[in-house]
């Protein structure tokens, strides 16, 4: 009995060892680490897959992809980054969960001589060797123009948004507002946060529909929230009556667009983002010239062109 706690601790560690053991290697490898905001959605999984493709193309590269449990666990992401900086990896690719909050640890990376590629969400940090992502503001504007066309320029419009203060979310919202808020026939209801999570997106949509039964259009700044909102709209049998536009164009969302449950979704190409991010990180790790800004591009997905995004 005296050893009970010891045994349990040993068992817990044994589990850890079994998991960790496989990542050890003897040969000198180029260690590249991609740290995303989370891995709980198709977007991040596909970005990870793209990163792995790029790493597989170079036999010297050893890639690890890590993330906190949820996008709001900013301190967990900072801890992961600190631990990687300590390991003096060859290069880091980071999708920051909090824009200001990661700056101190990015400075530590720089002090340790580790090049950092910023992925998906840009930060005001002049020392990044590259930013790989899309022009989110343009994406927001395109979504706004689509919504205005779809509602004939009249009616109540709301936005369901992700974590506040994060550049991707701010830019998508800003681009959308630029186009929609001042449009003469539009009644702007503002943006409500749902932390990029599906369940919260559904809740917020239910509340919006309760308060504004005559709501005409909703722009959700990522797919997960859009899919949640879609359920809330379907539950009230309002599918097709409330225009719904998402962002990311994951397969589930594109299938929903094809089926007519969602009107449109802004496309991102997460595999391409992941692949280009790791390609730039590898260049940086080898001291080769790196592209400062890699714009992956965005496009509007509607029922007409949904099929090509499902390949």
């Amino acid at each position: 009995m005296t050893g009970g706690r010891r045994r349990m601790a040993a068992a817990a560690l044994a589990a850890a060892l079994a998991l960790g053991g496989c990542t050890r290697g003897k040969t000198k490898k180029l260690d590249i680490v991609l740290v995303t905001k989370a891995l709980d959605s198709e977007f991040w999984q596909r970005l990870k897959a793209g990163a792995e493709q790029a790493a597989a193309a170079d036999p010297e590269v050893r890639l690890a992809v890590l993330a906190p449990e949820r996008e709001i666990n900013i301190d967990q992401q900072v801890a992961i980054l600190e631990d990687q900086v300590l390991k003096r990896v060859a290069a880091l690719a980071v999708a920051p969960a909090g824009v200001a909050e990661v700056l101190p640890v990015l400075d530590k990376a720089r002090a340790a001589g580790i090049p950092v590629v910023i992925v998906d969400t840009d930060v005001p940090w002049p020392h990044r060797v590259s930013f790989v992502g899309i022009d989110n503001r343009l994406g927001g504007r395109l979504a706004g123009e689509y919504v205005l066309r779809a509602i004939g320029g009249r009616g109540k419009v709301a936005v369901i948004r992700g974590v506040l203060g994060v550049a991707t979310q701010e830019d998508r919202l800003a681009g959308f507002r630029e186009v929609v808020e001042k449009a003469p026939g539009v009644q702007w209801l503002g943006a409500q946060p749902a932390n990029s999570e599906r369940a919260l997106g559904m809740n917020v949509m239910e509340n919006l529909l309760t308060r504004h039964p005559d709501l005409r259009a909703v722009f959700a700044t990522n797919d997960q929230m859009a899919l949640g909102a879609m359920e809330a709209i379907a539950a009230r049998k309002l599918t097709g009556k409330v225009v719904l536009v998402g962002f990311d164009a994951g397969r589930e969302a594109v299938r929903a667009v094809e089926a007519g449950q969602m009107n449109a979704v802004m496309a991102q190409y997460p595999e391409r983002i992941g692949r280009r991010a790791i390609e730039e990180a590898i260049k940086a790790a080898r001291g080769r010239p790196v592209e400062k800004f890699v714009d992956i591009g965005t496009a509007l997905v509607t029922k007409q062109n949904a099929r090509e995004f499902l390949r």
């Binding site: 010891r6 560690l13 998991l19 960790g20 891995l39 709001i72 801890a79 300590l86 200001a100 909050e101």
Partner: protein, 324 residues
């Protein structure tokens, strides 16, 4: 052991409670140092300490409450609100010292409110007022900031989270300082010892003339104060007062206290154990990070450790019960 002489089994049981967590920590460190060349370096150990600091501070407050057989679910949210209020005060031109006072004061005041709600309003269990506070404080933090983080805090304030003294991170010194204070408070002062009496048997403590309500309010105020201290360290470390700061931290702090050998039934628990509990969690997360194990698995392992620690406590208690 059941048939053994009472003295020895009592001693073994006591030793297990006292040193079991420390032993577990030592074994983990040994194993991790074999697995990763980066683990057993001064830099990394300071790193672990720094990453565990906020949880350790919250756990100290949680310990005081758990000793009284209570629970404080609001510490994560109080941390968030303290963080935000201090950052707002600093942005409005307050000095770093004033910002510090705002964070600590907010924490202690909200903690005291928890204590008053529990004792004076006679709510049935501390779960209820602190669950309420958990939501109220988080909601207020979000309302006051509109959800936006308040970043770029002045250097003087950031010192406690990001500074160093002779190479030692300031948060480590903060944790050690508070540990000493709490140890002395719990073992050498009357109010501190009263908390154990209350946790052991509230009615008996009342009959012995312990001012139970006052002591309980003090316990919750201290827990809130530590949430304020955690806010200072976290805001400094992240250079930001963000309204979602400390989301889920209450459960981590409870886990640290329990892993550290305190009894959920009250009356038992030490500062050393709690510190070790927080370090066990920190070492696990850090070690698994170094081994590139995903955060999901870290959660699984920590969950298993919590259950194992409490299981040991239950078995130990049953053994103690069968003797008498």
């Amino acid at each position: 052991m059941r048939g053994g002489p009472g003295f020895w089994s009592r001693t073994a049981s006591e030793a297990l409670r006292r040193f079991g967590p420390l032993l577990a920590l030592a074994i983990m460190c040994l194993a991790l140092s074999l697995l990763s060349e980066h683990f057993l370096t001064v830099d990394n150990l300071l790193n672990v300490f720094r990453q565990s600091a906020v949880n350790a501070l919250l756990a100290l407050g949680q310990l005081v409450v758990i000793i009284t057989a209570g629970i404080d679910l609001s510490v994560g949210s109080i941390l968030g609100l303290s963080c935000v209020l201090a950052a707002m005060a600093l942005k409005a031109g307050a000095s770093p010292a004033a910002g510090l006072l705002v964070a600590l004061g907010t924490g202690a005041a909200l903690g005291a409110v928890n204590g008053v709600l529990f004792t004076k309003l006679k709510l049935p269990h501390p779960f209820i007022p602190t669950l309420g506070m958990m939501n109220v404080a988080r909601g207020l933090a979000l309302v006051m900031t509109g959800g936006f983080p308040i970043s770029e805090l002045p250097g003087g304030f950031r010192y406690w989270g990001a500074g160093t003294v002779a190479g030692v991170p300031a948060p480590v010194l903060v944790v050690v300082g508070f540990c000493l204070l709490f140890h002395v408070f719990l073992t050498r002062t009357t109010p501190g010892r009263d908390l154990y009496a209350i946790g052991g048997n509230r009615q008996a403590a009342l009959l012995c003339g312990v001012p139970v309500d006052g002591r309980l309010i003090l316990a919750y105020a201290l827990s809130g104060l530590m949430a304020g201290a955690g806010a200072v360290v976290l805001a400094g470390r992240m250079n930001s007062g963000f309204p979602l700061a400390g989301a889920g931290a209450e459960l981590d702090s409870i886990a640290a206290v329990i892993i550290g050998g305190a009894s959920f039934f009250g009356g038992v628990g030490t500062v050393l154990g709690t510190l070790v509990g927080a370090l066990i969690m920190g070492v696990l997360r850090n070690g698994l990070n170094l081994l590139n194990v995903s955060a999901y698995w870290q959660t699984v392992v920590i969950g298993a450790v919590i259950v194992a620690a409490v299981w040991v406590d239950v078995v130990r208690q049953r053994a103690a019960g069968s003797r008498s």
